[in-house]
Symmetry: C2
Subunit: 210 residues, 2 copies
């Protein structure tokens, strides 16, 4: 509805965009496992073989989708840290944004970090992943007061620790594993728990330049 041009002719006009939109829906509804090229084509109103001309195969479409997913993740982290000046609080805000993304778009989160069914040589995917990583890295550097020191030793450990914490929390949450620990799965409980967990990220506890 109200798309740019609802041209139903032989040539679609912006099929690539339409397929990505459809794929987004299919992914959200059916997950990575239930994702189907033909269903995407159906929703975009084209034949089953049309997607091949724009994305090659199913891996190509999922990879393009994953690149967009990374962009959304980056945006979620940026939005969360907006306006926060204190370096350590800023870092934790980014962590919250990371988990928020996973909660809001669970299937996108799963797709983006899915080893299979993704073309890891794709430049767009790689670049989008780098951008998300850079968001984390710069926050860590700021919080640790590391400037542009080489990313190694305790500084690297601090980064990987922070990343692991939020990544693991998000994954456990989506996998329903926190049910083991939290009987009451209310949103408020989750937020409170995340707050306590994120508070364990304390970059300047040690000398990051060691």
């Amino acid at each position: 509805m109200a798309r740019k041009t609802e041209a139903a002719g032989y040539h679609h006009g912006d099929l690539r965009r339409a397929l990505l939109d459809a794929a987004e829906l299919v992914l959200a509804e059916r997950g990575v496992a239930g994702f189907t090229l033909r269903e995407c084509a159906r929703r975009a109103g084209v034949s089953h073989a049309a997607p091949a001309h724009h994305f090659g195969d199913v891996t190509g479409l999922l990879t393009a989708l994953a690149a967009l997913g990374f962009a959304t993740l980056t945006a979620s982290m940026r939005e969360a840290r907006e306006g926060i000046e204190d370096p350590r609080e800023r870092l934790r805000a980014i962590g919250r944004g990371y988990v928020t993304f996973a909660q809001r778009y669970p299937e996108r989160f799963r797709l983006v970090f899915n080893w299979h069914r993704l073309n890891h040589d794709d430049p767009a995917l790689h670049e989008a992943g780098e951008a998300a990583f850079a968001e984390l890295e710069s926050a860590i550097r700021l919080a640790a007061g590391a400037g542009d020191a080489p990313l190694e030793g305790e500084l690297l450990a601090e980064l990987v620790h922070a990343w692991s914490v939020v990544h693991g929390f998000a994954h456990l949450l989506l996998a329903g594993q926190l049910d083991h620990a939290i009987p009451d799965q209310g949103e408020a409980h989750i937020v409170a728990l995340l707050e306590r967990v994120v508070s364990r990220i304390e970059p300047s506890r040690r000398d990051p330049t060691a």
Copy 2:
């Protein structure tokens, strides 16, 4: 080869076991995404519809496999903590065992924490997951000196933090995301990094009974 009975008759004898063995191989080779019932049946030397009589559908077989995977994870954590008395070192050893499992059996790890394609109402799966969780919980309680206090507040946060750290590290490692941070992916570098990250798990830093 040298299976119990190599009976090639109409009745297999221990087809359930044979299918699980075959499925283990298929999973390791092709991953969860490339897993197929028919390939399992082929390797077990039976018809394509035979697995249905023992596992219902593909979800049933994967769920049975996941239960076994949880058992392996539990064993890996137990083996890692064996003989270690110091509570905090014991907890970190369990974390190392967790990551070791993921490195040794990447597809099992992915399967076990896969929300889709698994029957979460299955009692065997639930029990096996509970056992793995109990390993972590008891170690946390010991390290925090919490006795049998209710699992909430800072104690709960400590548990979820420790779990998130190792779970996130394992996932990032398997997803190849640590390539962003570590150019040299040598095994020694990974181990050293994991050691530094795991050392961030410090249960008695605060009052766990708060």
